[in-house]
Amino acid sequence: MGARTALISFDLDAIGAMSCNPAIGGLGKGHLVREVDALDGVLGRAADAGAIHYRMLNRSKGSAVWGPRVQADRVRFKAAVQQIIRAQSGLTLIQGEAAALVLEGGRVVGLELADGTILSAPRVILCTGTFLGGVLFRGEERFEGGRIGENAAKRLAHQLRGADLPMARLKTGTPPRLDGRTINWAVLETQPSDGEGWTMSPLTRARANPEVFCAITRTTQAGHDAIRANLHRSPLFSGAIAAAGPRYCPSIEDKIHRFGDREGHQVFLEPEGLDTHMVYPNGISTSLPVDVQATVVRTMPGCERAEIVQPGYAVEYDHIDPRALTPDLQVRAIPGLYCAGQINGTTGYEEAAAQGLVAGLEAAAAALGVQGPQLDRGNSYIAVMVDDLTLQGVSEPYRMLTARAEYRLRLRANNAATRLTGLGIAAGCIGEERRAWWDRREALREMFHVKHSQRVHARELADLGLPVRRDHGEKSLSEWLRFDGITPAALAPWLSEVTALDPVLAEEMAEDAAYAPYLARQDAELRDLRASEALSLAHDFPYGEVPGLSNEMVERLTKAAPGTLAAAGRVSGVTPAALSALLVHARRLANGQRAA
C-alpha cells in the first residue's frame, strides 16, 4: 500500500515462533488462513513452507465447511516467516522494547522505546499476545509470564491500565510436550497426511516437505482417576484461575470434570517437526502438577514409557474488551491506537493473523488517507470475526467457527481469493506475484463460464449412466450440477478439458453452480442487510434518549456501539421492540438533520 512501517519486537528472531500447537488451519480457522492469504498476508505461504502433515477436515460434508489444516515444522515455519518479512519492502525491523505510547491531545503520535528512542507515527498497532499481565500456572507453581523483559511489559501495561480501558482476564493452556523416541508408535493407530496435493496458498506451487503421519491414542480410566484425585491441585479448580478459558478447547481436567462418564478422550500425537523428536499430544492441555501430567500421559496406550520434555501449563492474561474498539480495530478512546490478536480476546494463530491484517490495512489506509478493503459479513470470515468481537465482546477466548458465518455457503475456504483478492487489489495491498496469478486465473474463469453454459440434453447424461430422467429436457451444465449425483467428475466428457487447466477453480465453479439456488436467496438477504447497513449510528448515539429502551438495552447498545442499524440488530439480547424503537428514533434524528 506504500506505507512506511516499522515492526518492533523485543526479539526479532522470535518472530514466527509458534508458542502452542504447531498446527495451522482447521474448521473455520482454515477459512481465515485462506482469506489472509487472499489479501496477500504471510500466514498461508509460511504454513505451506512448514507443512509436514495435511488434512482436509470435514471432507465428507459440504465443501463450505471443509477445513484445511496443516501441521508445520516449527523451524521451517519460522524461517519462512522471517524470510518473507525481511524481503518486505517498506518494512523496517527494529529490535527493542516498546515501553510507552507517545500521546498528544489524547491521540497516539508515536512510540517510545526502552532506550529512550522516540519513533513518531500517526498509527500504532499493539499485538501483545498472552504477555500482557501474563501469569503461568502449573499445579501449585506460579511464574510471571513475560519472557520479554518484565520492566518493559509492565510499563506499557501500566500505561494501558491508566488509560482507563475496559480490561479483563482470560485463560488458555497447553499440553506437555513428549519425546517421540519414547513413544511406542507401533501399537497406535496412525493418521497419514492426506497426500491430495492441495496447499494453503495458491502461490505455493507444490508441497515442499516430506509428509509425516500422526498417531491417535486415548486417555484411560486410570488417568482419569489420577486427575480426579488431584483436581484440587489444578489452579482451574482450586480457584487460583478465575478467568474463562476456551469452551472449544478445554483442558483435560475440564473434560473429566464435565464429561466424567466418558471412558476415554481421543489424543492426537503430532510431530513438531522433521528435525526434532518433540511430539505435541493434542487433547490434553493441562495445568495439573507435573507428577499428575506424567501419570495421565503414561496411562495412555503407546505412551507407557513416554518422557515429558516440557510440562504443560495454563496462562492467564489481560485483554481489552473488544467492544472498546471500532470496526477497524482502533481503540475508540485513543485514536491512532489499534489492537490485534489475543489482546482482543481471541485464541489461535489464524484469528490473530486475520486481525493483524485488518488492523494493518486499516491503519495504513488511515495514514495514507485512502480507504481500506470493504469487508463485511457477506464476504469474509475476517469481517464476521471483527464484527462479533467489536459488537458482542467475548466471555471466553474467541475461536472462529463456521457456525458464526450466516452466509457460510458463499464463504468457502476454497473461494477466498475470488471473494477477496479483487478487493485487495482495489485497496492496494496485493503484491506483484499474486497480481499476476490473479490475472491469469480471471482469464480462465471466462473459459469456465463458457463451458458451464453449454446446454446438454438429459438423454446424453442418462446414456452415461447418470441418475437423470431421460425426459428431463435440455439444461446448461451449471444447472445439471445442482442435481443429486451429478458431480463435475460425472460431467467430465464436457468439462475435463477446462478442469485440467485449473482443477481448483473448476471445483470452486462447480460448487457455485451446485449452490446457486441458495446463493440467489442469500443475495436478496444481503441486499436487505446492506440497506440497513446504510442507516448509520454514530458511536456516541444517545441510546439513553431513545424512548422505551430499558436500562439493560441502553447499556448493551452503548457498550457495543453498533456502527449501523444492521449491527444493532446483531447485538445479543436486543429485542424486536427495542430495535424498532431504535430504527424509528434513528430515522427521526436523520430526518431532523436533513431538515436542519
Binding site: 463456521t402 450466516e406 434518549e545 424512548p547 424486536p576 421492540a577 424509528v584
Partner: protein, 431 residues
Amino acid sequence: MTSGPTIFALSSGAPPAGVGVIRVSGPQARAALQALAGRLPPPRRASLAKLRDGAGGLLDEALVLWFPGPNTATGEDLAEFHCHGGRAVIAAVESALAKLPDTRRAEPGEFTRRAFANGRIDLAEAEGLGDLLAAETELQRAAALANLGGALSRQVESWRAQVLGFSAEVEGVLDFSDEEDSADLPECFTWNIAALADEIGTWLARPRAERLGEGFRVVLAGPPNAGKSTLFNALVEKEAAITSPIAGTTRDVIERSVALAGVPFTFVDTAGLRVAGSETDADPIEAIGIDRARTELARADLVLWLGPEGEGPDGAWEIAAQADRADFIAKPTARFTLSAATGDGIDALRAALMAAARDVLPKPGEATLNARQHARLAEAGASLAAARTLHDPLLVAEELRRARVAFDRLIGRATTEDMLDTLFGRFCIGK
C-alpha cells in the same frame, strides 16, 4: 420523552355519542391538562373538572385523566378528556387543544406509531392493534386482541427457540466433527423438524385475519322471482348493517355486510340468474349479468340455492322458499323450508349459517395471521419442510437459518423501513 409535537384526537366513536374521549399524547400533554382543566389531577386517577378555553369560557364538565410517561400506552405523557359526546362539545375541546403551542391533530396511525416507536409494542402487536381498531364485530375484536396481547409473538419466539436448538445440533456436527460425541445427527432430529413443520402447517391452514374483515360470504342464487330478495332482506334487515370493506357493488348484484351474533357476514343477492341451459338465449347485457353472477358464485363461501331442485351449483344449500304461497313447490331434499314473509324457518337457517361460518372463520381468541405474517410463516414452513428432506447437514443448517430469518422478519427482529410504512398507513386516526 421528546417525540416531536404533541398530538390529540378523538379516540372514541364518531359523535354524537354518550361520551367522547379525547386523547392527548406528547410533551405538552401536561400543559394541555393544566390549560383546559385548570390543574393537574393525580396520576392514573379519574377526576371531574370543568374544561375552559383560553378565554375562560366553559366548554364542558368532563372526567380528566393524567398518565405521566414513559409507562403509558404511547410511551409518552398522556392525557384523556372524557367529555360529553355531542358534536359541538367535541369540536370545541378539539379547537381549544389545537390553539396550544406545539400541539396538533394526530395523523392516521400516529398514536400507535408512537407506541411502536417508543418500544411499547413489537411489530406483531402493532399489527394486532391495527386489526383491533378496524374490528367491527366481536369475532374480529377477539382475534385482534389475541395478537395485540402478544400471542403470535410468543408463539413465534417459541418456534424460533426450537429452530435455534435444531441449528445447534447441526452446527455441532459441522464444527465439532473431530469430537467423538457429535459425529452424526440423532435419529429423532428429522422427526422433530417434521413435527415443527407440521405444527406451522396447521397455523398456515388456519383462516387468515383478512377473512374476518371480509366476513363469511353467502350468495343467494336462483331464477328471478324465486324469493331471493325477500329472503335477503329478512336475513339482513333486522341486523345492524356494518360497513363492507369490499368496495363497488354492481348494478345487478346487491351486497350487505352484517354481524349475526358477532360473526361477520356478507350476503349477496344476485338478481336474475337463469337456470342452466337457457343462457344461450340471453342478450349481451344479460350475459354480462350472468358473468357477474357466476363470479359471485365462485367467490362465495356458501350458496343458498332457491331454484329448481338439483340445478344449483355444487355444494349449494337447497332452500325451499316461499312456503307460505299457494303455488309453493316443495323440494324433497331441501335443507331448509321457509317463508321469509312469515318468518317461518328463518331462525333455523340463521343458526345453521352461523355454525357454518364459525367453522371457516378464525376461532374467537385465536391468534390470526395477516397476509404479511402468513407469507413470512410460509417461508419458515417451506425451509423446515426442505430441511427434513435434505441429507447434507450444511444445507439443513442453511434451511434452518432461513427459517430463523423468516421468524425474525415476522415479529420485526429484522425490521425494514418499507414494511413499517406499509404498516402505519392502515391505521385509523386517533388510535
